[in-house]
Symmetry: C2
Subunit: 274 residues, 2 copies
């Protein structure tokens, strides 16, 4: 198997002909860290390996685990009590004949650290609807790949007042935020958009579903329509990702929602520090 | 307006936090050159500027024209009679808050040169159908962006025997090859998939349509189905891009097609050297 090449961002970027830049031919993970300890680490590394397999990028769990441990120690020692974010960008490597990859190329892994974003307000956030639809290729559904232009274009609609915008599929169902998955608490129970419909299947979403299941609370995967969010059956609406945690939504496109911050307490990724 | 930052591939890659790598937040052009002269240059640079505008990347025609001229001279002087390919990668720049770009960031332009691919056989090529569907976001349709994972995944199906694979939309219409646009000559005239359905709207396609129009031959834009390619009304089927030119297809998924190489002669991009 080709050997993973590791690059540290402070030493420069990837080679000029890397396929991550050329075609978005790769994956990334952003892991919330405190000192040398990380949150949801198993889920992040599992997803990276699983999605690398889906794209046909040859990399082993042991290689990635080793880089993670070195990065946690390298960056974490100077950030003892500070939350920060470890970013891993895995690409198929450099070169190839146009789009067609060379099956023997060595994958590249670019490692970097950045400050954690500010904490989100516990009283909830305001969100809107994006004008940019989501078109999810079934072959790539859920993969946190480097092809994120749909999210970038939608994120241009964010402002100081709008924490997140929700993107809909071509059939009008609300699929996810630019950087968050969705979970709805209704009078009939928990609802979240189906995994197969997602642009990015977040590890925080996986973990929250696991936690709820462990409490005996079942989550139904079905399409979410705008009227489900603002209808009388909605008890609470949450956004989530592994860096921000669980964020209650208090207003959507000018309409107030009932706010219940309880889930943010039940599912705090900082509890998983290891 | 922010000033374009120019990088030459032989001096290294883009900064580690460039958004082209992080999100595929950018565009590219590949221009067929001979010596210091380029083909279809106006169309390439027009598209780059037009699509930069669609993505909200601030760059001027004069800036890009200047870099093109420097690159043609820089790489072309040592490649006097040899065809080569000039690649321009334009990204939104480095940094930003996650997906959300900073509107003041300076775009980056990475310039590189590589040998031209081998000439395609005049007797035509064999093609197949890809198992990877195309899902084209209407906001991004036709843009030669750095989000090309659908094409990479399909290109993994190419082999010595299969020159190109054709990708279909979700409704089953044949939209384009991994790196080529399609043009069909039928007993009722010329047909090509509608521009709004395309992942990449090739400059070679634009130029061929212009050339045919100048000869009084009209091309109908309508969805192309597999049965149109192998039905009795098909007189010739062509693939095209600006580096390979026009390529007749002689066999599709094991079925022979009538071959007419005439269009390749009428539309030779080398005639446009300037």
């Amino acid at each position: 198997m080709p050997v993973l090449q590791v690059f540290w961002a402070e030493d420069g970027g990837l080679p000029a002909n890397d396929r991550g830049l050329a075609y978005g031919d790769g994956l990334f993970e952003t892991i919330l860290m405190v000192g040398a300890q990380g949150t949801l680490v198993r889920l992040h590394l599992d997803r990276l390996i699983r999605d690398a397999g889906r794209l046909g990028i040859p990399v082993s769990r042991a290689e990635v685990q080793d880089v993670y441990a070195r990065a946690a120690s390298h960056y974490g020692s100077s950030r003892a009590d500070t939350p920060w974010v470890l970013k891993l960008i895995l690409t198929r490597g450099a070169g190839g004949r146009g789009y067609r990859p060379d099956p023997d190329m060595s994958p590249n892994l670019l490692v970097s650290a950045s400050p954690a974003p500010p904490a989100t307000p516990v009283e909830g956030v305001r969100v809107g609807y994006s004008r940019i639809p989501l078109t999810v290729n079934p072959v790539l559904a859920g993969i946190k790949s480097l092809n994120r232009l749909e999210q970038v274009m939608a994120a241009r609609e964010l402002s100081e007042d709008v924490f997140e915008v929700l993107q809909s599929g071509v059939s009008g169902d609300v699929v996810e935020g630019t950087r968050t998955n969705l979970l709805l608490q209704t009078t009939e129970g928990w609802v979240t958009p189906p995994r197969a419909s997602l642009a990015v299947a977040g590890v925080m979403r996986d973990w929250v579903l696991e936690r709820l299941a462990a409490r005996g609370e079942f989550v139904t995967e079905r399409p979410v329509l705008p009227e489900h969010l603002t209808g009388s059956s909605c008890r609470a609406f949450y956004l989530m990702n592994s860096v921000l945690g669980v964020v209650p939504v208090r207003n959507i496109a000018g309409r107030d929602l009932p706010v219940d911050g309880g889930l943010a307490t039940i599912c705090d990724p900082l509890e998983t520090l290891e």
